[in-house]
């Protein structure tokens, strides 16, 4: 079996643990400490931000334009609208600035 295969299996087990684990673990407690809850609430934004921020270091004009448009569209539209808008700007801009 390849390494890729084992990454997928382990990733699948880790994911299933998150989906069943909250029920198994957290439901045993009457209350979650507010600070723990605040930390859990911050997890998605914290993790996802780290996937975007370093890209800014080597982003050119086309990439910047795409990210700005994505952020602006997100204030009104849903995930699909902002993604398509950002992708459209990126593809269009790359035709001119590479």
């Amino acid at each position: 079996m390849s390494t890729t295969f084992w990454i997928i299996i382990a990733g699948a087990i880790a994911t299933y643990l998150t989906r069943v684990g909250g029920h198994l673990v957290i439901s045993r407690f009457e209350n979650i400490h507010p600070r723990v809850e605040a930390g859990l609430n911050a997890v998605p934004a914290a993790v996802l931000t780290t996937l975007v921020a370093p890209e800014l270091l080597h982003a050119g004009p086309a990439e910047w334009a795409a990210l700005v448009v994505t952020a602006v569209v997100s204030l009104r539209g849903g995930l699909m609208a902002m993604f398509l808008a950002g992708a459209a700007v990126l593809i269009l801009a790359r035709q001119f600035v590479g």
Partner: protein, 242 residues
């Protein structure tokens, strides 16, 4: 027996009611499934591996993160840890939905947790809050189409991805940051969102420059979460809980 017929037909209509509610999710997730398949192949996955990852992990953002790190030749355990980190939010969904489906048989619960995605949680929780029972047939009707379309479209995307000649001109290499920025913006109504984003963003850039990739992901994430833990609870909007 009459009661069997009634409960069975009730289960069947519940199932189709769930299927109807699943359609917007199927449509919205289709481009991401195709995109995942194409990017997976672009990052060195085979078509079968892309299909397997969609079928077994079944978590869009975490799959994107996984293949991006795989393409950067990051250590396998760190890829798995990153998938775990991105999916960690499901712990809260799991804790929330647990009381709604506790009356199901254990095997059905085990299956129910497997398909507990963001929209699955949101729609099921909304149904529970409106006073209706979250039954297994309804829940499966809501989740099964999304799952089946997701894995088939991933495989199609992987097949299609091999045919794309110039990924740079099509922007394939930068679609993930755009997608992740979209996800980050989607959480902007949460308390402490801006401070967490600034802390994680700054920490990840500094770590990227100093420690290097892929540690910037873990270091940046820990910085944001720690900030939320350290700040007084009245800032984080959770102190009103009983």
């Amino acid at each position: 027996m009459a009661t069997d017929v009634i409960s069975e037909s009730g289960g069947r209509s519940d199932f189709w009611q769930g299927v109807r509610l699943s359609m917007p999710v199927v449509v919205a997730s289709a481009p991401f499934a195709v995109l995942f398949g194409a990017l997976a192949v672009d990052n060195g996955f085979s078509v079968l591996e892309a299909f397997l990852m969609s079928a077994l992990v079944y978590g869009g953002a975490s799959q994107m993160v996984g293949i991006q790190l795989f393409g950067q030749h990051v250590a396998p355990w760190l890829i798995v840890l990153s998938i775990f980190a991105v999916n960690f939010r499901h712990v809260l969904y799991s804790a929330g939905i647990g009381r709604r489906i506790a009356h199901w048989p254990v095997v059905q619960q085990a299956l129910g947790y497997f398909i507990l995605t963001d929209p699955q949680f949101a729609v099921a929780e909304a149904r529970a809050q409106s006073g209706q029972t979250v039954g297994f047939a309804w829940y499966l009707g809501l989740g099964l189409p999304v799952y089946l379309f997701w894995i088939v479209e991933s495989a199609l995307g992987a097949l299609f991805g091999k045919l794309i000649p110039d990924t740079h001109a099509l922007g394939i290499d930068f679609l993930l940051p755009i997608y992740f920025l979209g996800l980050v913006m989607g959480f902007r109504k949460r308390p402490l969102w801006l401070p967490v984003v600034i802390a994680s963003g700054a920490a990840s850039i500094i770590a990227y420059k100093t420690v290097g990739s892929p540690w910037h992901v873990s270091i940046g994430a820990v910085a944001g979460v720690l900030l939320a833990v350290i700040l007084p609870p009245h800032h984080s909007g959770v102190e009103t809980r009983p």
